[in-house]
């Protein structure tokens, strides 16, 4: 019998599995075709190019209700990515802080951080999103509260609410209005086939990049000096200079100014409005994920045995140097893989935007578009494909990293 021969056994099994798998696949496809026929539906993506007809309140690139459903999906994807990106950044900062503070010798602080971690970890993230949205809209003043009427002026009354940060930021029930950076003598848009680029931004980043590169060179030089003489020259002011002087110069040249939000009839206009739905979603995800990251960071630091820091101390290294030269490089290896899977989770959790009706990918492609066109099969498959692509990209980056930093052992 082939099944008893180690050489053929696995091949036999695999052939059987393959046949079963193919049967299963064809069963699925067959059913789908039959169901589509039964419902008198087609499977095509033409609807993506039809007019969408709905508006979206946060659009990072141009969009009107005349744009196509595809464009709407793209807007949603950008919104998803924006929330994920900012969420990850915030979660990292918060999580690392909390994780380190949890190890603090300060009794009160370490207890408070434990409470934070436990509370956030053990309650569904959906609740944090909902509460975040509620707090933001309940605890903020309406735009009308900023209004100064003539009667009030006459009576010398102050409005109920006023802008913060030198009258530049207005926090209302709808969102947070912050000044927008503008340039006076802007460069024309760069029209390339297919895409149009904001050349102001382009130039800005080019100059900034050049500054960073120069800074990198300065540090490299400092390292060489240190290697040669043992003494490291002081470089921080040079770094500051090469990074900031050219960029600030460029901004002044272009006539940089801020466009402050102003109260119009109903709303603040001008500036950039950060919607509460975005803030609630992003912050809730960030504080929730931060609780997990805090645990990861704590475990990572604890995983580095006390012996390592003792050895460093015994060699005469100061605590700060010990941290940066000995503990952190090792802890990072332990921390980064689970950290990245937290990033993955956060990114996937942005799909809970549905709870606060933030128009992310699920809100546009998987929400309104699906609803208006009734193309559930196409929309859902497309959406899964996009999420899968994002996830696989992140995790393959993680694998690369893991391979790069793996400890060499016998």
């Amino acid at each position: 019998m082939l099944i008893y021969d180690t050489r053929y056994r696995s091949i036999t099994i695999q052939v059987v599995v393959l046949v079963l798998f193919l049967l299963f696949l064809s069963w699925l496809v067959n059913n789908t075709i039959a169901n589509l026929a039964l419902k008198d539906r087609t499977f095509d993506f033409a609807f993506l190019f039809a007019r969408s007809g709905y508006d979206i309140n946060q659009t990072l690139v141009d969009y009107t209700n005349d744009s196509s459903h595809l464009r709407a999906a793209y807007i949603g994807l950008l919104n998803t990515l924006l929330s994920a990106l900012i969420g990850c950044a915030l979660a990292t900062v918060l999580g690392v802080t909390v994780g380190v503070l949890r190890l603090s010798r300060n009794w009160l602080i370490s207890r408070l951080m434990t409470v934070y971690v436990e509370i956030f970890r053990n309650v569904p993230v959906l609740l944090w999103i909902l509460l975040g949205a509620a707090i933001l809209s309940e605890a903020t003043p309406a735009p009308a509260d900023y209004r100064v009427t003539e009667a009030m002026q006459a009576a010398g009354e102050a409005p109920k609410a006023s802008m913060v940060l030198f009258d530049s930021v207005a926090i209302t029930t709808r969102g947070i209005n912050i000044p927008a950076p503008m340039v006076e003598h802007g460069l024309p848009r760069l029209e390339l086939p297919g895409i149009s680029l904001n050349s102001n931004l382009l130039v800005f980043f080019l100059v900034l990049g050049a500054g960073l590169y120069a800074d990198h060179r300065i540090r490299a030089h400092a390292r060489r000096v240190q290697e040669a003489t043992g003494l490291r020259p002081v470089t921080w002011w040079k770094s500051l200079a090469v990074i900031f002087v050219p960029t600030i110069g460029l901004l002044m040249l272009m006539g940089f100014h801020l466009d402050y939000p102003v109260l119009k009839k109903f709303n603040f206009t001008g500036g950039i409005e950060v919607l509460h739905s975005f803030t609630a979603l992003t912050f809730a995800l960030a504080v929730y994920t931060a609780a997990f990251i805090a645990e990861i960071v704590r475990a990572g630091i604890l995983a580095i045995s006390r012996g390592q820091s003792e050895a460093a101390f015994a060699l005469g290294l100061r605590p700060g140097r010990t941290m940066s030269l000995v503990i952190l490089p090792q802890a990072l290896r332990v921390i980064i893989p689970p950290l990245i899977s937290q990033y993955l989770n956060l990114t996937k959790n942005t799909s809970l935007a549905i709870a606060v009706s933030y128009m992310d990918l699920r809100g546009t492609l998987g929400g309104v578009t699906l609803n208006q066109t009734g193309k559930e099969l196409e929309c859902m498959l497309l959406m899964m494909g996009i999420y899968l692509t994002i996830s696989l990209t992140i995790s393959s980056l993680m694998n690369l990293f893991n391979r790069a930093v793996k400890l060499k052992e016998r």
Partner: protein
Amino acid sequence: MGEFTPFVRTEMLAPQAPPVSQRGAIRWLRENLFSGPLNTVLTLLGLAALLWVVSHLGPWLLHSVWNANSLTECREIIAATWGEGASGACWAMVRDRWHQYLFGFYPSPLYWRPTLAFALLFVAIAPVLYSQLPRKLLLLTAVYPALTFWLLWGGSIWVPVVAMMGFGVFAVVFRLAQPRFGVPVSAGLGAVATSLWWMFAQAPVAAVLQSIAPVTLTSVDSDQFGGFLLSVVIGVTAISASLPMGILLALGRKSDMLLVRTLSVGFIEFIRGVPLITLLFTASLLLQYFLPPGSDFDIILRVIILVTFFAAAYIAEVIRGGLAALPRGQYEAADALGLDYWQAQRLIIMPQALKISIPGIVSSFIGLFKDTTLVAFVGLNDPLKGITQIVRADINWKGIYWEPYLFAGSIFFLICFGMSRYSMWLERKLKTDHR
């Protein structure tokens, strides 16, 4: 040679108490709260934060109202007792609707059934977790799924019993075939026999048995499930069903057969790569395309199946970690003793790998349990959003906001926190177990 005097201690020194600066509350304060400028600042900041929270939440909680029939009444009572403009919590809502948070629309005279099922859950998992308990109890664990199904959904007892017989059929076929054909083939035969049983024998046999010995409970439709009952049903079913599936996936992923490995990896990565919510939408929107025309089954069941897939992918990864932690020597020793692959897995590898994986499995379970709230988005009445939405649609409670969320949130917290502490305890217990 050196100048030292040989030295012999004639009497030993007794231990002394540490100097005063090393003792007492002051030392504790100094060391734990004010040991340096940074720590002092942190302490003060922490105190300020604490104060802020208490001063904001305190009055609201203090002004709680427990007895009222509507939000308006609550507001009137608060205004009357604490003065106009005072804010307070209206827990009267919880008093009025707690049963829906716990049981959804389950008929109230039958509340004993889910309650009993829930209590039995602990009896059923106890023998799995405590190896000291009599092994006989495992029998209860085995029949628990059928029993619970019957308790929760009601109807004829024979339906779940005959369904469980399917597993019996599997066992019999497997036993008979295994010596001759080996594990994989006989498992396949068993699966085929079981499916045949379920497809063709289930209904008639159950009907016959029912006519012989009618044992029936009032049947309850699954659309009446809601609240924590729904969460627990989805969570427990999914986790227990996902465990065997996760084990198979993990073994598949470690298999040296390329095709099996690829399929396992593909499945795991696909499921882990998409948000749960899209899987839930698949359950509610897409399954109708993938199943044969005309087949339509319960949305709760569909959700459970997809949540099971989701949990299985995560558990497979957890178990893979456990497997990786086992030294190669264990496999070799099993081989050298002449155990075959499945015997080695069952007797040597899995017991150890699962033990290592317990913390990971429990945290997957906690995550899964929390994620059951997402079923609200496919129209099921989860405790957090679904039931709250219903309550807020009631004309009496229209406008209530914080209380339902806080209520549901704290129950979630209690359960999840309890589970995580329990798993820590278990981990510690199992670790010392052998030394």
